[in-house]
Structure formats: C-alpha cells, structure tokens
C-alpha cells in the first residue's frame, strides 16, 4: 500500500482541510509549483528551520515570521512566474485557517513597511 501511495501521491480530496500552521502553509504552496527547481532557493530557509526544530515553529516566533516570509515569496512566484497555470493570492489563501490568515496579513504589512523604510 505504501508503494502505491508513494507512486500515486495523494489524490485530491473534494474537501481539503484548512491549513493551520506556517509549516503546512509553506508545504502547501510549494506543492503547487509545477517545477520544483524554480522554487528550490526559497525553500533553503524552510530546510534550515525544519532541520533545527523538527516541527512547526511556535506562533509569534522569528522562525514563524521567516516561514511566512517564504510563503509570501512562493505566493509571488505562483501568481507571476508559474509556467503552467494561473494562481491568485486570494485563491491560495482560501484554505488558510483564520488565525494563520491574520498572522500572514501582519507579516505582509511588516514586510511592506520594511521595504518602504
């Protein structure tokens, strides 16, 4: 069974569960890229964090912010450079649980302020 699962991957469910953590968020976004080589450089930070922590970072931590930042980079890639399909930011964020969505909005605001200064 595990051989079949590894060959066929996970089939799409009709109702996907909400994305709860920043790690799940980054994993979800990365899985949507058709060419993993294009996003590999964004995922270096994710690999560092998962190698250190082994699980999702606590909410509000620097690692959490770093993962949300990676998600924003992936979102920009998916909505502008993904070669085979059209994504929208609102469509990507539909599956996010409300608390995670709020954290993402805060991170996005903080990133915009950093860029302006």
């Amino acid at each position: 069974m595990s051989l079949l699962r590894s060959f066929f991957g996970t089939p799409k469910q009709s109702k996907e569960t909400a994305v709860q953590t920043s790690l799940e968020l980054v994993t979800y976004a990365a899985s949507l890229a058709s060419n993993p080589d294009d996003i590999s450089r964004y995922l270096d930070k994710v690999r560092d964090i998962t190698a250190r922590l082994g699980a999702a970072p606590p909410p509000g931590s620097k690692d959490e912010s770093a993962l949300l930042e990676v998600y924003l980079q992936l979102e920009t890639y998916l909505t502008t450079k993904e070669p085979i399909r059209t994504f929208t930011a609102s469509g990507l964020r539909k599956r996010l649980a409300a608390p995670l969505l709020a954290q993402l909005a805060k991170q996005e605001q903080a990133s915009t302020v950093t860029v302006k200064t």
Binding site: F7, F8, G9, S34, P36, P83, I84
Partner: protein
C-alpha cells in the same frame, strides 16, 4: 463527471446492441453484437477521457493548454482508429478506398505522435529533463524499429504479406511511441510538484497499459494465422481497460486544477 462518462458509455454500448447483423458478417449474431459492444465501450471511455482533459483547460496557461489538447487528440484518435476497425470488420468494408489506400493506418500513426508530442510538451514546460524528449533521437529510432518489425517471423497468413508487414509496422510505431511517452511521463512524475503527482502517475499507467496492449496485439498478429476471434476480443477488452486508465488520468488532472 465520471458518472456522465459511464452513462455515455453504457448508452453507446446499448445502441450497438440494436444494430442489425449485416449479411456479410461471418460469425454468430452474438459475436457481432459483442464485437460492436466492446468497440462502443472503447469509444465511450476514450472520448470521455479526452473530454475530461479538455474540461481542465480553463485553469491553465496557453502552453499547457496546447499540451493537453494534443494529448486529448491522441486519445481520441486512438478511439477513432479502434472504432473504424470494428466498423470495417463488422460491415465487411475491406474493399473500400479508405482501407485499400492505407488511410486506415492514419488514426493510429497520428495517435502515437500526438501522445508523444503532448507528453513531450508537458515535460518541457515543467522542466523535466529526459533524452526521450529529443525528437531527433526518438523518431528515427521508432521509424527504424517499425521498419525492422517486418522481418519478425510469423505464422502463415491468409492476407498478402505486404498487408501483414504494414500492419505490424504500424503496431510497432504506435507501441514504441506509447513507450516513449510513458518514459517521459515517468520522468515528469519524478520531477513535478506533489500537487500533480497523482494525475501524472495515472497518465503513466495509461500509456504503459497502451504499450502492453499493442505488444499483445503484435504477438497475436504474428502467432495466429487465420481469424483470431477470442484473442482479438481479449485485446479489445484490455483496450477498454486502458481507456478507463486514460479517463482516470483525465479526472485526476481535472481535480488538480482545484487548490
């Protein structure tokens, strides 16, 4: 959507059962309707699969739409080729211009090319690298082995040697292109993002299934002299099973447009 395809297939099969047996038919009425029913099932699942691929187009960009459309054309041509064989055989149309001029091979030749080029376009889009996408290497090899297939030993046949040679050559052409497309699908499955793994895995299964059916058809063509009723029926039933795999691949690609 799968229910619509299943219903369509059942309706087509039911329609074949009411077609009157022509005078030219050489076997029992049951054999006639079984033969046409299997051809009808093939039409249902293959055209259904092509429709599933085409129904996914809205979510994708132009280049992938072209790849999907090419794959759909290949799947549909496969069905057209099989259906024409069934009609020609059932209604004794061997003497027609379409058969005598060799037009009968066109759907099969074009189907193999469309499936190969469709998978090749898909692989190049997602950055999956494989030598099987090199047209300059693959097509000459396929052509060479198709020609060499005429030298395969075979049982004595009723039909002229040239007819058997061309038929075997076409089977080799289609089989090798299906195999090349399956090889590309395998490489794409290893490379592509996990969101698409399920869909491309089904596509690989369908292409490998197609190759296996062609190999079996070639073995029957070489080994069986005279009418090959039961082996042909088994091969046609296996073709229907391959059509179901194509339909499952189309359904999985259709689901993949959701995120």
């Amino acid at each position: 959507m799968r229910r619509i395809i299943a219903l369509f297939t059942i309706l087509v099969v039911a329609a074949t059962l009411i077609i009157p047996v022509p005078d030219s038919w050489h076997d029992t009425a049951q054999a006639f309707h079984t033969y046409l029913a299997v051809a009808g099932a093939m039409a249902g699942v293959y055209f259904g699969a092509a429709w599933l691929f085409l129904s996914s187009l809205s979510a994708y960009k132009t280049n992938l739409r072209i790849a999907y459309t090419t794959l759909s054309v290949g799947i549909a041509l496969n069905a057209i080729g099989a259906i024409q064989l069934a009609i020609i055989s059932a209604f004794d149309l061997l003497g027609t211009f379409w058969v005598q001029s060799g037009g009968i091979v066109l759907p099969f030749m074009l189907s193999g090319l469309a499936l190969y080029f469709g998978m090749r376009a898909f692989a190049r889009l997602v950055g999956a690298k494989t030598r099987l996408t090199k047209v300059g290497m693959v097509l000459p090899c396929v052509a060479l082995f198709s020609v060499l297939s005429i030298f395969l030993p075979h049982a004595p046949m009723d039909s002229p040697e040239i007819v058997e040679d061309v038929s075997n050559g076409i089977l080799a052409w289609v089989g090798l292109l299906d195999l090349a497309a399956a090889g590309i699908a395998w490489r794409v499955r290893q490379h592509i993002g996990s969101h698409y793994t399920n869909a491309i895995a089904w596509m690989f299964m369908a292409l490998i299934g197609s190759f296996i059916v062609v190999v079996l058809a070639l073995i029957v063509a070489l080994a069986v002299s005279g009418p090959s009723g039961t082996p042909d029926l088994i091969i046609n039933i296996l073709s229907v099973a391959v059509g179901v795999l194509y339909a499952q691949a189309g359904y999985a690609f259709h689901k993949a447009k959701d995120y």
